[in-house]
Symmetry: C2
Subunit: 275 residues, 2 copies
């Protein structure tokens, strides 16, 4: 297959490396940053830079771009893609994005498959790319009416890259779950480090500080967009968190040991059961 990867950041770069390491497909790259393209070529992450002829003959294109960039690509380059080319993305919110992508796909010959590789790091950019982040991770396909053969192709490549699990869901369900599993932890981490005590943590902190605050090293523009694209589900999830935090806070403030033990035991039981 001829595979194109648009956007050679953390995810695109890691995918390129994973494909080159595990398959014999041709992997070409697209990126606004020429230095990134050179780095990717020289370390063998890609076989070369894609030109317009490559776009016309590509079998599959990964859009590893911010939502706006992915939509712009679909709008501008979509018409060049051949009949049956699979255009698939890696965006962190689905419902709003898929509606727009499906409208654009309707005007083209390619097939859009909505995807979300559930793996990452708080660091970004090609320099941080590392195919091992995918090993054993989940790859989500948000079903948007794409034909089964196209979905299977994306799944097969995901498994070849090292992902351990394929999850098929709807865009709405995806967004509801991602609000909890991914967006709230980022909001939490940011709220947490805003405490004045954070300025004095060195020497007083260990694993629990590091783990909660890790993703506060945040790309604020990307994540603002992701949060606002998932406004309803995220607001609901943050309200749920506030409610549960308030219960713990009130038990502490009122010295209610029985209630506090009950709340913490409930949480402990959930974590031990659910992992």
């Amino acid at each position: 297959m001829k595979i194109l990867i648009a956007g050679l950041g953390l995810i695109g770069g890691s995918m390129a490396k994973a494909l080159k390491q595990n398959t014999s497909h041709q992997v070409l790259g697209l990126d606004r940053d020429q230095d990134v393209l050179l780095d990717a070529c020289s370390c063998g992450a890609i076989d070369g830079k894609a030109d317009s002829q490559d776009l016309r003959t590509a079998d599959l294109v990964y859009l590893c771009l911010y939502p706006e960039g992915a939509l712009a690509f679909a709008r501008e380059q979509g018409p060049l893609l051949k009949e049956g080319c699979i255009l698939t993305d890696a965006c962190g919110v689905k419902a709003a994005f898929c509606r727009e992508m499906e409208a654009l796909a309707g005007t083209g010959s390619y097939v859009f498959v909505a995807g979300h590789p559930m793996a990452g790091k708080e660091r970004s950019g090609f320099a941080a790319s590392d195919p091992s982040i995918f090993v054993g991770a989940s790859y989500i396909l948000a079903e948007t009416g794409a034909p089964a053969w196209a979905q299977r192709q994306v799944e097969d490549l995901a498994l070849a890259m090292g992902f351990g699990r394929i999850v098929r869901t709807t865009p709405q369900r995806h967004d509801q779950m991602i609000a909890f599993t991914s967006q709230v932890p980022h909001a939490l981490a940011c709220a947490y480090v805003m405490s004045p005590r954070c300025q004095h943590h060195p020497g007083f902190s260990a694993g629990s500080y590091r783990d909660v605050s890790r993703v506060a090293n945040i790309n604020h523009q990307l994540w603002s967009r992701l949060f606002l694209d998932n406004q309803e589900a995220l607001t609901q999830e943050l309200d749920e968190l506030q409610k549960n935090l308030a219960a713990i806070r009130n038990a502490v403030a009122s010295g209610d040991q029985a209630q506090l033990e009950s709340l913490l035991k409930q949480a402990g039981d959930i974590k031990r059961q659910m992992g």
Copy 2:
């Protein structure tokens, strides 16, 4: 030196192993659980079980027990300890506990040094003990008027065990900082997993879910006690968190992109600056 370790759980067990690995001191253990004593002996974590004669001749005793257990030990075994024996603890809150320990020490011949090794795991018990958790970690001494020679002894042993940093502070400052660095992350983790969406997270979760929720695998009795012993500082810290979470929540709910970006950027800058 003859060193006794009362309580061979995660911390006591790890300290025993660290002392045996890195020093030539004699290390004896005390634990209500005979099986734990046997395990500790057979794997070389301790040289043997301590009897009452060992208590009378011990040079230093580590209390690796819950606050109530540590106080009971000081009350019941304190009178047996020799003149100049150092009695030191590993409790996670200091002000309330130190007041009581200092009152008890006043009636004995030993010297009390308040300590807090800043390292741990969410798993507990001797079976989870592992001296590598101390490597590079912080060891806090909460100053309670103990003579300098006794504090230095505890510091020297900490460095020998692998700790990377000694921090001297007051019990009050310790508690204020611990509320932020340790207690809030535990409260947060518990509140987080109480969301109904947690029941469905497999397949939708990755590193950020794992990191925030890790310490929800909580010992609810221990942590309720630690929270309530630090009631004022923790309530203040939870209120601070609620305030900052509400700011993010409101920016999302009202679709205020500029404000949301500003909040997330502020957090990102703090994390990148403070680590």
